[in-house]
Amino acid sequence: MTAVAAKPRAAERLRTFKRKHPVFRLVVVRLLIGVLTLWLVSVVIFAATQALPGNAAYAVLGRSATPARLHAYEVQLHLNRPVIDQYGSWIGGVLHGRFGTSLANGESVSALIGPRLVNSAVLVALSGVISVLVAVILGILTAAKRDTWFDHTASALALAVIALPEFVVAIALVILFAVLVLHALPAVSQIPPGGYPWQYPNELILPVATLVIVIGPYAFRITRGAMIDALESDHVEMARLKGLSSRRVLFVHAFPSAIPPVIQVVGLSLLYLAGGIVVVEYVFNYPGVGAALVDAVSNRDIPTIQFLVLALATFYVVVNIGTDVIALLASPRRRAPQ
């Protein structure tokens, strides 16, 4: 067999493989695009930070920055090298798994920010899981019992709460439970460095409650809508006509059709949370990435900024891929070989 003839055979096999495994293909392509996106993000953020007035030496020395101290500090932080050089050495380190040292305090970025990433991740995960559970359960129940007082009350409450900004919800909870009305919960989440959030469940209650209140109602409304659509579809009517119990109709026949829009909402909520926790972290002084990022930008602490932005970008990419994959898996028709 000549090499030329072998090539079409291999290409043919690849095409068949792609056809038969659309999920795998999706993941591979999206991962490649994801990596490209991350690299582009790192370049853009680096350029943006350079464009800001001042640099880390100014930021750290603050008002006491005399020219002599500034120069000494800039040399120490390697800020006097050409910009391309600085970026090059940073990306070189990253490819070897080293994220550099913070320009603000000389500590290793991964050692300092790693725990804060974990803290925020716990907040996002807990809030995501709880709000999805609450939203889905409420969504199914209100769709099943449409137009009852239960449905009307839940929907009205949801609509009212959706309009509230995050910090209003956060402060209202603090006033109610920590400071004025009751003194049951801590107003501020003091998780000490070195501790893990799950070791301090009390400190998590109010921040998580805030986030659940913020994203829950939207997810609930979408689920309810999707369930109502599903309950009115032909195949559910068929199932009812076949005489199946209403519970079976609800969970086995209706709910699976509602999954794709719910997955979309879950994905959107998680993505919103990634940015939205900044406000909540501020109000509760929660040691997470929101405050760390704002602080790093103020300090022009480029390695820390890059680390955080890349972590967030990776989260976005993974969640996007994840929701698309799950949506694909949940729709057997789209998955079938063409």
Binding site: G54, Y73, A104, V174, P186
Partner: protein
Amino acid sequence: MDTSVTRRELIGHAARGSIAVAGAGSLLSACGSGSGSTPATTTTNVKARRGGTLTVGLTGGSSSDTLDPNKLTTNPDFGRTAALYDGMVWAQADGQPALRVAEEMSPLNKDASRWAIRLRKGVRFHDGREATADDLIYSTKRCLKPTPGVSASVLTGLRLNELRKLDKHTVELTFDHPYTTFVAAIGGTSNIYLLPEDFDPKHPIGTGPFKFESFTPGQRSVFTRWDEYWNQFEPYVDQLVLLDYSDETSQINALLSGQVDAVNQLSADVLATVTGGGKKVLISPGGGYNPFTMRVDQAPFTDVRVRRAFQLMVNRPKMLEVVFAGHGVIGNDIFGIWDPEYDHSLPQRVQDIEQAKHLLKAAGHENMTIELVTGDIAQGVIQMAQLFVQHAAQAGVTVHLNQITPTEYFGPNYLKWTFAQDFWYAAPYLAQVPLSSLPNSPYNETHFNNPRFNKLFAEANATTDKTKQTEIVHAMQTIQYDEGGFILPFFAPVIDGFSPQVQGMVPSKTGSSFNMWSFQQLSLSA
């Protein structure tokens, strides 16, 4: 969200030698008399209860927090420094310095270009070693080498290779200029902190009232009582925890819910919230100030009539009322209000719109427009700027506010703006002057350079006669009053919040929280 994430407050402290006063019920040990030596005072409450953990919530910190006393820039940095290390002198509640770890500081020659510092005996570092003159020489050198530290500006002219050990505890310092105000100049952040010769900022050891336990930049630092502190009564608490807060709201919430015992630097707006929640506030007369700065070397402020017009546009009592609910002291465009040498006889400036308009017209700048650069660099600064816009409008002047972040504020353009603001903490007059009002000052916002003024300052530094010095200071203040570039509407109060269990909080004229970060004076009742 407010932008106070990097609120950096360099305390430009300086204190001058004079009689120091201690609070009631305290232990006094004053020594020395005459113009050459500095009295020592310790305020100690022998009845205070020992034990407990004092948790303090501080704003102003960030991930650039440090334990290195030569690099301190923010309030939390200063709190840490005051806990771990001793300075040679330290400002007391009346704003004047007293000897701290130095037993004596006196000039050795007539023009005070040579000084001797003698350490107390038996002062121990946190690892048990005794502090000696060698450590003091090292500590002094470290302020300047290898990189100039925070204290470098008050140690210019110090001949490093002529630092001499006179005996086991005494060091001689030689400057190449007369320096009668040396004690005043090192009374605050620009201090000489006593460090061991093998000092390592990652494992910090000092002689201060608290030992290092742990530190996470931007979050918290923990210290434990140093049982062999040279003051046999202080500190009282077993453990000191300093927490970083991003803004006032979470700080106050933490105080109200009992998660912290004390908080620093509150605004006047929250007084009712704090006291309504069962906590207390301490409003200190302060002595710090946030001036408007006009560059006297740039149009339109080259014309003194324009400067005077701007100074006359401000309604000072109204501004103080709005920004600090009336707490504080009205200012007269010169600094150093609590300094005994401050000239109170200079006529107090009040708002005079007619005169302001008249002066502007005479200077050819009627109905002018100008940009004012402002930022959240200290409590109340932006509000002052906003009020200034209103007051100026009454005189026909249009002021455009350019609000920027603190990082940008102290970036490359700092000290270059024509019309801007700044913040300063309390300092006696002659210690403040070299920081802001001489041609080679590190923070000369107004680019002030008056030859007669400069000459007077050199004279003041060459005389140890207090009466003569006061006369010189009055002359200098008159020059600044007449020709300076500051609009100083008031001296700001310092407002700290604390729970009723915290004892030992005293009103302070140092311009810093907790009586200049003196945690060793605080105790917790049962």
